[in-house]
Amino acid sequence: MRRHPLLPLGYFACAAVAFLLAAMGSVWLASDMAGHYYHPRLLALTHLVTLGWITVAIMGASYQLVPVVLERPIWSERLAGWQLAVMAVAVAGMVSHFALGTGLGLASAAGLLAVGIALHLLNVGLTFRRVTRWTFTARLILLGHGGLTLTTLFGVTLAFNRVWRFLPDDFFPILHAHLLLALFGWVAPMVLGVSARIYPMFLLTPEPSLTVSRVQLWSLTLGVPSVVLGVMDRPPLLALGGFALALTAGSHAASILDMVRGRKRPQLDWSVRFVVTATAFLLPAAVVGLGLAVNFLAGPRPALAFAVLLLGGWISLTIVGMMLKVVPFLVWSRVYGPRAGREPVPTLAQLCWPRAESLAYALLVSGIGLLGATVWLGDVVWIRGAGAVVALGALAFATALARILGHLRSGGVVHVEAHAR
């Protein structure tokens, strides 16, 4: 079995570019962010974040982590390579056609995106066929891919509706269901499942207990269909689903706190700090989300703040943290793995750039927190300022990643020479 670290690295590089563009876009679109979220340019920005950044990053992580988690090689790395090309074209097409407001172009790009996602589902599905041990992580990855399938079906339906108009005039329930499926049906199970396996590996701590895992699995399984049905046609289910998802979030946060407290690795590097801080964003996100679910809060302002806290705070900071751990490992495997045991090789920490990572941490955490507050207030100047802080943070993160990736180009020659001296 030969594994190519360059495959997930390609996904991560594309995702990081999308993150940087989206962060810069938040400065440019500050006045739109002070208005209603159903705006062509805001829809473009949202899809750049959810598809270009989050989904592409999770797919890349899948191709690196699924073999580790399932202890099986991925079914076809070549197919995964083709899938990245399809995804890149499709996401670029969707984002630009959303911004331009062209229905047919959007529907075509959505169709192409569905092909890219189908290739991913096929690859992961055929990998799962060989799984014999259904761990918590394996179950959540499967659940997440079920959520991805439904999210795609809802999304393609909405895109085709722009051309052929077959949905009722009030299509907002389907739009909200699409977003909730993406957040809680696709992204949340993937983050929960992967973190239960990967964080213990790097924090040197036991995996979450069976009870905690069961609470997360069942509350998510109950919560996702409840909120989706709730926003579509059954309002009482929305509150029930909201509480179930708040329980998932609380249980996940408690398990992360347990792992951090029980760790054998005394120092918290920047990647772990990102992950822990990302988890802290779940608290305000859960409060605002519950407020929306029980109708205590309403309207585009808290809804946008909820999206920023969840997409920017919890999910994006988690992905940034994971990338700062996984990318050095993949680069190390590619450049130094074949030399390990034969000559001195650097450690993972020596591949990283802590100063850039600490700068990214300070800027992204403060910027996203500020952005969440300012979109709620709807003040353009403050939104632009917060967006600028996020953009600078994304730039620091991209710089830190680029420096790690630079080892691929130098082939480690510079470092090994320095090591020898």
Partner: protein
């Protein structure tokens, strides 16, 4: 956990005991004393270090000097870590010649190490493995990234899970086919 081969039936004369619990509780740094003891170790001696917590940073420091470790915990604040020279072929404790035999077995426990240290330690030990000997690696999980490296370097390997939380990988140098 079962004691690794190099430590089974180890005579007391080959054990060097060092207790740093009081020193750490008094707020003093025992690192220099530990390293002095390590430097003074004879070729066949083992350092038995007692500490009030698991001394994780030492695993890496001494690992780079070719020491493997085996850890026991008597109480939450009483840890004994046995540091022994790693990847020296140690024959099974049966009567026989002192030189490594074809069936010599080297045990390497890489549990509790952060990636990619387990891979580095295993590949270092594998590269020094004589033909006919076996490297027994004790791991927390199946090392998916290690297998391709072993395949490319001409090692056969087989993995089993004798108990929950313990993955055992047996590695042998592939014999040249006639």
């Amino acid at each position: 956990m079962e004691r690794p081969w190099p430590l089974t039936d180890l005579p007391e004369a080959r054990r060097v005991h060092l207790d740093v619990r009081e020193e750490i509780r008094a707020g003093r740094e025992p690192f220099i004393r530990i390293m002095t003891a390590v430097k003074a170790l004879g070729a066949d001696q083992v350092l038995v270090l007692r500490a009030p917590f698991e001394p994780l940073p030492l695993y890496e420091v001494l690992g780079r000097r070719g020491f493997a470790h085996w850890t026991e915990r008597a109480d939450p604040d009483d840890w004994s870590v046995w540091f022994f020279r790693d990847a020296e072929p140690v024959s099974a404790p049966t009567p026989g010649p002192a030189t490594p035999a074809r069936d010599a077995r080297v045990v390497l426990d890489v549990r509790g190490l952060e990636p990619p240290h387990p891979m580095v330690r295993v590949l270092q030990a594998a590269e020094r493995l004589p033909l006919g000997s076996v490297l027994e690696v004790r791991h927390e999980r199946r090392p998916i990234f290690l297998y391709p490296q072993l395949d490319e370097r001409g090692f056969d390997h087989e993995t089993d899970e004798p108990e929950p939380g313990l993955v055992r990988i047996l590695i042998r140098r592939r014999e040249a086919r006639a």
